[in-house]
Amino acid sequence: MTDFELTTMLKDLADVPAPPPSIDVDRARRIGGRRRRVRTTALALGCAAVVAAGGLTAVAVFRHDPAPAPAAVQPKPKPGPVAVAPAPTDNPLVAKADFGWLPEGVSRIEHGVGGHGDYTLALGGGDRAPMIWLAVYDQEPALDRKHDMGGQAVRVPVRVGDRDGYWVTTDAKDPLNHGDSYLRWPTADGRWAELHAYYLALPDLQQALLRVAGEVTFANRPVALPLHILGLPDTFHLADANVWRRPDTDGVPWRVVLSYSVNGALATITVSLPGGRADGIGDPVCATRNGLRACVTVDNPAAAGLDGERVLDRITLLGPDESKWTTHVVG
């Protein structure tokens, strides 16, 4: 079946007989308009608060008499930023944060950088595996950073360890956002951390997620990988790097996948135990050495300047014992 045939099949499927539509444009206008008004009002109130605060500041600056000290609330001294060591350059996969405590059954740890952002993921097993995504942002993300809350996102303040954080939810009465839960808090070095959890059924999920957040540690930690790549050309720019631990779907305990953009081509390196599937586009070139299998695909060798065989020649596999893996991957 060609691309064209797949497209045709999709069009045929979309054309199968359907029940009459139940889409209500008036209802969309009513509810959408209400959301817009709420948002506009909130924005206006926010602006008014800023203007009022600015006015008070101006009065304080220009008045001759010293302003009286605030009666009750003393500003808390903010701790200075705590520097984080720069990320190493010889490892494509550097974790910005690590979990401490995790709920029982959510113990597999994956790492990724690239397409889905830079994350550390704790997950369980099964069809709808519970997942807790941990990400660190240089600046506070937009409230509805994934644009999937329909303009209804609100903050619900909460204390995370010794910091003032908040839940992001579409329902202020349900900080857990109906199970698609977001918890954010500022880190000691001035960045922002976020937990995004779903498919997680626990008796006291709020407390569990707060405990997970409270025990997160922050540092640029290179993730040990099962390969060393000698002399990767400068034209290889990392697109995605992932450590997957999905035995249910992959048939092997883990897979490491590094994808590089090379002059518009995509070169993908997959390392796993023998039997693992190769990612990428095109026919993989594979080799089994030292108890591991490495496969390379290059979708356009002419553009990339070298083919899968040449990339494979540069790879040393370090074996299945994870204690022998290296954090110095490229060089």
Binding site: T7, L13, A18, P21, R27, A28, I31, R36, H178, D240
Partner: protein, 164 residues
């Protein structure tokens, strides 16, 4: 503004409904997804109407609604045990290749399914698909390859890869 929104939805709701059906495989859920998407579209109409590609904006809104629904619908089933959570009626026997494809699409993870629909049904290039899904072009390529591999296995017929 009102007329522009109404005109757009009137003209494009049938197309949005088809995209939604390919994403979720059920016409009633598809209507719910389109309803959610056009509500969000109206709430953001002043921005949407200025978009270079209004179809692209609407498509991205629809895909986001679908991916979010995947997660929260699970929670409703867990949270409201014993309430209104009857499983959807089983589909009738799949008698042609289109319905075989529907069954195969049901087996794909949500993001891979969205990738297939955007790339092959909506004929979107890698870059636009990446923007719609909020991921890198490399991720779109690898997700497409995985999805096509799975469909090939499920439909037991090779799909020749040619899309870069």
């Amino acid at each position: 503004m009102e007329a522009g929104f109404t005109d757009y939805v009137t003209a494009r709701s049938a197309w949005l409904r088809k995209v939604a059906y390919l994403l979720c495989g059920d016409w009633h859920r598809a209507d719910d997804l389109v309803q959610t998407a056009i509500t969000r579209l109206y709430a953001n109409w002043s921005r949407a109407a200025r978009a270079d590609n209004l179809d692209g904006y609407a498509r991205r809104t629809l895909v986001n609604a679908y991916l979010a629904e995947q997660r929260t619908s699970w929670w409703r089933r867990v949270d409201l045990r014993g309430a209104d959570h009857d499983p959807p009626p089983a589909p009738g026997p799949d008698v042609d290749s289109a319905l075989d494809l529907r069954a195969a699409l049901d087996r794909l993870p949500a993001r891979q399914r969205a990738t297939v629909v955007l790339r092959y049904f909506c004929d979107q290039p890698v870059a636009d698909t990446a923007r719609a899904l909020g991921c890198s072009e490399g991720t779109v390529k690898s997700q497409t390859a995985k999805a096509v591999d799975t469909l090939r296995e499920l439909l037991r017929e090779p799909i020749w890869e040619g899309r870069g």
